[in-house]
């Protein structure tokens, strides 16, 4: 029974959420934030990312495969829970539910987002630049979808950091878990401000 598949998969799921997927999210939000300095800055930053050596290998190893595993196993985790915030409406139980709801929203949003940007670019239907995002976000409906999708992703990551620290036994005492709740909520607020500012920079 030692070190069963269950244990391994669950720990892998947890690890991949932070390394590399969470780290990629941070890089992605940082690069996009150049949009607040104008189209030129953004295009330069994107151009740098686009011209990284072995880009496709990096993308598969650091983004697509880990994200796919995290998402598929994440869906399995979502469906094995029987949520009960109606009866037991404690703070952490709400966060547990929100972690699952934002996971599913993030999955739907990412599928759309990857199609609309990366896949259409690969098919030669669009260029990767400021104008592409400007066109997408010229529709108010898309602005709302992007706001929901991005805020949900950022919340999922920040609250996920909290449970990551519990899952690996980094925060054990109630006090350390309380402090890390404050810390991760500050992370959420900071990332939320950065990403909302970025979205509005494209409009």
């Amino acid at each position: 029974m030692a070190g069963s598949r269950d244990f391994f998969n669950r720990r892998l799921h947890s690890l991949l959420g932070v390394i590399p997927v969470g780290l990629f999210l941070l890089v992605h939000l940082t690069v996009n934030h150049f949009a607040t300095r104008g189209a030129g800055s953004f295009n330069k930053a994107v151009n740098f990312m686009e011209n990284l050596p072995f880009l496709i290998v990096l993308e598969f190893l650091l983004i697509y495969l880990p994200l796919l595993f995290h998402a598929i196993y994440g869906l399995y985790i979502v469906f094995t829970a029987k949520n009960n915030v109606g009866r037991l409406s404690y703070f952490r139980n709400w966060m547990f539910l929100l972690q699952r709801v934002t996971g599913v929203i993030t999955l739907i949003f990412l599928a759309w987002h990857v199609w609309e940007t990366r896949i259409r670019y690969a098919l030669g239907q669009t260029e990767l630049n400021y104008d592409m995002m400007h066109d997408i976000l010229s529709s108010p409906v898309m602005v709302v979808i992007y706001l929901i999708g991005v805020l949900s992703t950022v919340f999922h990551f920040a609250n996920g950091l909290w449970s990551f620290m519990v899952s690996w036994g980094l925060t054990v005492s109630p006090r350390s878990q309380r402090v890390s709740t404050y810390f991760t909520m500050i992370v959420f607020l900071a990332l939320a401000i950065i990403s909302v500012r970025t979205i509005f920079a494209f409009i």
Partner: protein, 251 residues
């Protein structure tokens, strides 16, 4: 003169196979009543609120002082012990349901065998029987004894399993109580000799990793057992244990 009464809506079930149904009761109020004394009143005079004769409601009890856990049920949506649920503190009508995380035997009585199976699976005991007298065990440092004593208060009532969103028919999670017992027995100086065995047991299917940190258990445990501290501490121990398993270790 109208007499003060207590209203109940009870989820009943005749046998493990039959469908559950609800029955309402209205019984005379007495001061200092608790849910058990109310159920005893229904048993004395099994008539529902429509005035129809019915079968007495079945439940389990033993200690009547919140140390055995036998009387646990879901009262107004919250899993807890019925012997310490005072009528004066409950909103009416009072809803009683069995803890459906477990197989229902009849009415409010459930079968908690899975908890004992889990304790066996995680080896929640200290092997001291040998071919010769092993003598006294080493002493425990006092601060450690104090928290270990808190963990030892678990009465296997099942409330934490009922409260946990990850313990249900779709999952094989053994639940918080047996996990915390692993921490208890690993903390004991003699029990620590079998630490790796217990850690490996909770690294199996439906073990520690199935926890999703809703932390309902620690909010619900009637004994105030720091279940989530136990779980996080075991997360740390199993992280180390998994490295030992993989790379080899003399521990």
């Amino acid at each position: 003169m109208s007499q003060k009464t207590v209203k109940f809506i009870i989820t009943r079930q005749n046998s493990p196979e039959t469908a559950p149904y609800q029955e309402e009761f209205e019984i005379p109020y007495r001061p200092n009543m608790n849910v058990i004394s109310a159920l005893m009143e229904i048993r004395r005079n099994p008539v529902n609120s429509k005035g129809e004769a019915t079968t007495p409601v079945y439940w389990e009890m033993n200690c009547l002082e919140e140390v055995c856990g036998a009387c646990s049920m879901v009262i107004n949506g919250k899993p807890r012990q019925s012997c310490t649920a005072l009528i004066d503190n409950l909103e009416q009508p009072i809803r009683l349901e069995p803890m459906k995380t477990f197989p229902v035997v009849r009415d409010l009585a459930i079968d908690r065998s899975r908890m004992f199976d889990a304790l066996k699976r995680v080896k929640a005991w200290i092997p001291i029987d040998g071919t010769y007298d092993l003598g006294e065990g080493p002493r425990m440092p006092e601060p450690k004894r104090q928290w270990a004593y808190e963990l030892s208060k678990c009465m296997t009532c099942g409330v934490c399993l009922e409260a946990c969103p990850n313990v249900n028919s779709k999952s094989d999670f053994i639940g918080p109580a047996p996990l915390s017992q692993v921490r208890l027995f690993n903390a004991h100086p003699t029990g620590a000799m079998n630490k790796a065995e217990r850690l490996n047991a909770i690294m199996g299917e439906g073990g520690l990793a199935s926890c999703g940190n809703s932390q309902n258990c620690v909010q619900s445990c009637p004994k105030g057992i720091p279940l989530t501290t136990s779980i996080a501490s075991l997360n740390r121990e199993t992280t180390i244990q998994s490295f030992r398993n993989f790379f080899g270790s003399d521990k």
